[in-house]
Assembly symmetry: C2
Homo-oligomer: 364 residues x 2
């Protein structure tokens, strides 16, 4: 029998309604209304961008972490050290979205007078989409950078097994009449979810994505992820960037690093102790903000109007696709993919919110 | 008749001697002894790392820029604005290595109390190997980042012509008993020099390096670089990183950006107006430096001892190959590749230093 969630694959749900569902589910799992609201905002903004892999579907593992002790529902992140251009935040294993918002906002506040500020976060966990926190800075006329280490799953040149995480890098930069330029990338050649999707579909993958258990290039996903490992983007270059993020987010912050990070997507997760690094650059310290925004618009215009490749009718700026999806989501509601619906119905069942979710999906 | 320089392809020259030659050549081109010494140190450190493409061979275009007005031999870089965590440097088209050293040192000095600092540089030119400035920070117990924009030569997804430069990113991080981890990469899939080398050898290149004049993938180098363009590393990811560097080094600093940057490798160069961005993070502000270094050693040890791929007997950390070459260069002298020797002999001829260069090469 097919999953009852699947009858809603053609439904649409407004982001505000989806956010309300996330808030209620997180409160049912023990979060304060404030922490639930902050977490829901990260998840649903991510869904509205169309990055469903990191949106509300993550309620399932987040709730499991709250239940099993990987995250602490009643913990509060704390600034444990600070100076004119930096803060150190101990997450105390509170919801990583709450910790990360606090840390990025602290960096933004420090950067206002210092010009640039760095927030180091330790004792945190999976913080969702890295780009969310970078965009916080852009919305306050700053350039934002967001990085985290994650549990090992990627190999490096010369190795055959997972050595490092797919440590993501995100940035956001405000423009004038143009939308905020923003990028959120894993440092792997491709998202692991794409390898799993090919495996589920029984399809081979392109060369260059995966090595087998002997470290040889493979297009066969049949033994992954038990054996083999995903490759960094651009070979030694992606390895080097992933290692920089491991250092800025893990080694420097006092968080765990490499194999010290506990996996969060397991049945019985322990505190992951991921570390995050946030940087805010106050544009106005360096150049009048209006001048900067006009220069950004000029740069964007030049990229967009470059001669097109055969078969291409458009050049996208980083983040442009996401903002178009975001606008459509807020206008017409979000059409959730089947796997997100299945996850949400599972959460609804755990939290007694099934009727509430169905009503929200049917209302639109 | 073969180039007389080529009889020295098996010679070795000690880095200190090569540096002395560079100093004399730069002074002959009008630089002060101080500026000549600083510039030579950048070029020869780069040669000692084995990154010959960015070492002393660049004396030829640097001297041409000094002669034609692309660079000003008597100009001095100037700090034109500053705050607790930032400086803005106007290079006044002085030697970019001198400007960049001043800017990175200013960032390091600011970071000592602020925790992190950013140096913005405008009105500069080709600064050589990005990694040199990052290593300056590491030698002072800081994490260093170094970025620059360069004249357009790389296309982006959807385009067919050059849109942006191969904007390099470099970082350096000190360790304890281990060597400084450092990476210096262009954001293109491969260095343009490798495409040119394949073209010279009449060989095809792998797919994924180049597009032709219609933006189609090609392995044919015959019309490059007149037509076609090199691709970013990792597709949209490398494009996004190159654009971040364009913003941090160009849009934010007040330097030129994208097509506004003048090419420096032309017969009659104008001031390039490249911009640079340097960041220094003071480790001790965040974590005791000895703790950090021990954590770096642990991280490095874990990466190095990972299970090896079939056919691999070693996993390199970023910078490890460079430091091994550096140590050998200082022990045994540098064996300069033919194209570097040809460039040095050309410089020697222009500056009346041919006998001096020959004596240095024969002495070893």
């Amino acid at each position: 029998m097919s999953n009852p969630a699947l009858q809603y694959v053609n439904s649409r749900i407004h982001p505000e309604k989806l956010k309300q569902f996330c808030i209620e589910a997180l409160q049912a799992a023990g979060l304060s209304s404030d922490h639930a609201e902050q977490t829901a905002d990260v998840l649903v903004t991510t869904d509205a961008w169309g990055t469903f892999s990191h949106g509300s579907r993550q309620l399932v593992p987040l709730l499991n972490n709250l239940r099993k002790g990987g995250l602490k529902a009643d913990a509060q992140p704390e600034i444990v050290d600070q100076g004119s251009g930096f803060v150190v935040v101990d997450g105390h294993f509170a919801m990583p979205m709450v910790t990360s918002r606090l840390a990025m906002q602290a960096a933004i506040d420090k950067a206002r007078s210092a010009g640039i500020a760095y927030a180091a976060v330790r004792r945190s966990g999976h913080y969702g989409a890295a780009g969310y926190y970078a965009v916080m800075a852009a919305e306050q006329d700053m350039i934002g950078l967001s990085m985290t280490n994650v549990d090992v799953c990627m190999t490096v040149p010369g190795a055959r097994a997972p050595v490092i995480g797919t440590n993501p890098l995100a940035y956001a930069v405000p423009a004038g009449t143009e939308r905020t330029v923003f990028l959120d990338i894993a440092t792997s050649v491709v998202a692991i979810s794409k390898v799993i999707a090919a495996k589920t579909a029984g399809k081979p993958i392109p060369e260059g994505w995966l090595v087998d258990e002997l470290g040889r290039p493979t297009t066969d996903t049949s033994t992954y992820p038990d054996k083999g490992a995903i490759l960094p983007m651009a070979g030694h270059k992606g390895y080097g960037v992933a290692l920089l993020i491991e250092i800025l987010a893990g080694v420097l912050t006092g968080a765990s690093f490499l194999s010290g990070i506990k996996p969060w997507l397991v049945p019985d997760p322990q505190p992951a102790d991921e570390g995050h690094a946030f940087v805010a650059v106050n544009i106005e310290s360096l150049i009048p903000i209006d001048t900067f925004k006009a220069r950004m618009d000029a740069m964007i215009g030049e990229v967009r109007s470059a001669p097109k490749a055969e078969g291409s009718d458009r050049i996208y700026l980083p983040g442009e696709m996401e903002w178009e999806r975001f606008d459509l989501a807020h206008k017409n509601g979000i059409q959730l993919p089947d796997y997100v619906l299945i996850n949400l119905f599972s959460v609804a069942e755990q939290t007694g919110l099934t009727d509430r979710l169905i009503a929200m999906l049917e209302e639109e």
